[in-house]
Amino acid sequence: MREVAIVAAGMTRFGELWESSLRDLFVEAASDAMRNAGVDAVDDIYIGNMSGGQFVGQEHLAPLMADHLGLAGVGATRVESACASGGAALRLGYLSVASGMSDVVLVAGVEKMTDGADATQVLATAADQETEAYHGITFPGLYALIARAYMERYGATEEDLAWVAVKDHAHGALNPKAQFPRKITVEDVLSSTMVSDPLRLLNCSPVSDGAAAVILVPLEEASKYTDRPVRIRGVGQATGSMALADREDPTWLDAVAAAAERAYRMAGVGPEDIQVAEVHDCFSIAEVCCIEALGFVERGEGAAAAREGLTALGGRIPVNTSGGLKAKGHPVGASGVAQAIEIFHQLRGEAGERQVEGARIGLTQNMGGSGASAVVHIFERV
């Protein structure tokens, strides 16, 4: 298999983008990426999208997107793994180049969530329909169950969870593309409306529109497109039990741990080597559990990480310098690709005020549903 590099990126702002349709979002991000790479053609297209069908009634996104990009004729595939759709698309784009099948691949993620669909109900389709959604559980509700079990077992508090959101917003305030580019306080979080006990509104990532895209080429060709390519050094994907009730331990994200272990093994690095990471903080508790599953902290110690500054800029392992899903926004299918873009900028030294000094190795972790699917990528500055 060939080595693969990301040579360019493009993304829309994330937020309630009333003037942009699903197609507009994709075209904007993908065009930007292609322009930044200096390409006007690609060999293969992968699009991560959770549910164009339920949000805007549009399935069959792959040819639609290629068509509107002016690339009708190019092979294209829409990839779905709930909130891990973007990461899953990136992995397939990687395989397309690594296998030798394609030389220039466009990987994008897009979601249009604000056109009037009942987002609570659509997001709940990522849960087990027969055994979870049937009973009226919501997406926040699933993570609330995890949060409560975690708090019971490890003694974590609502304040610990609040610190995750505060930290993500401190970073997001420095990100011009973020949906909420402003700081919040612990008090703000603890006084926000309870959504599903114990998770409050400010513990939950928002409903967002947005798109993100990257261009992948073989590493050996990368210099044609940029003088600072970022190599994909490790890839790991895993699944876990779909229903929370079927997991041995509801506080442990085994799919994330398995995906990470595969990525670390392929990259030949360990958690201690990662200098910056984008982690799937769909809810504050998710970031807590993910950093444990990624091996950044011991089990049971995730809750203290944000409060103690471990995961903030300047800390031992800065997590979500983009602002994370919480502050940057979470257009579901786009998030996995947006995570890669943040690491791309970090490793190229162009993250501005969010820059982690000297970052050479970074990681993204994208997760679907309540943790049933996970994709981890490890990147390296070349």
Partner: protein, 133 residues
Amino acid sequence: MPSPRYWREVPGRYRLEAGRCEDCGKVSFPARTICPSCRGTNIASITLSRRATVVTSTVVRVPPDEFLMEAPYAVALLDTPEGARFMAQVVDCEPEEVVPGMEVELEFRLIRKEGDTGIRCYGHKGVPARTQP
């Protein structure tokens, strides 16, 4: 809710029919064809007794449209004496009263209905136990 799907699910929803792997003893509710623990296919049908214990719970305050009138409501993961674990609402008490370790009985209840003209979908919910196990 399509009629065929609902009809297939009746034995599990109405009678709490579950599956126990005859090779490793793992109980799945609803029953599966392949045991999630040992991948065996020797699954026997068992009926759960109507008692359970709360493992963890939450109170849904921002519900999907269909559940708007019921909010806030408690949803929990429940463990049964037979070894099954599944998700269900716990009702007939203040939702905040549902706590880990709480003993519940499982009662036949209406779970959801599609507006005023769709089929009514039944199943079981937990209620505070009247008697001790």
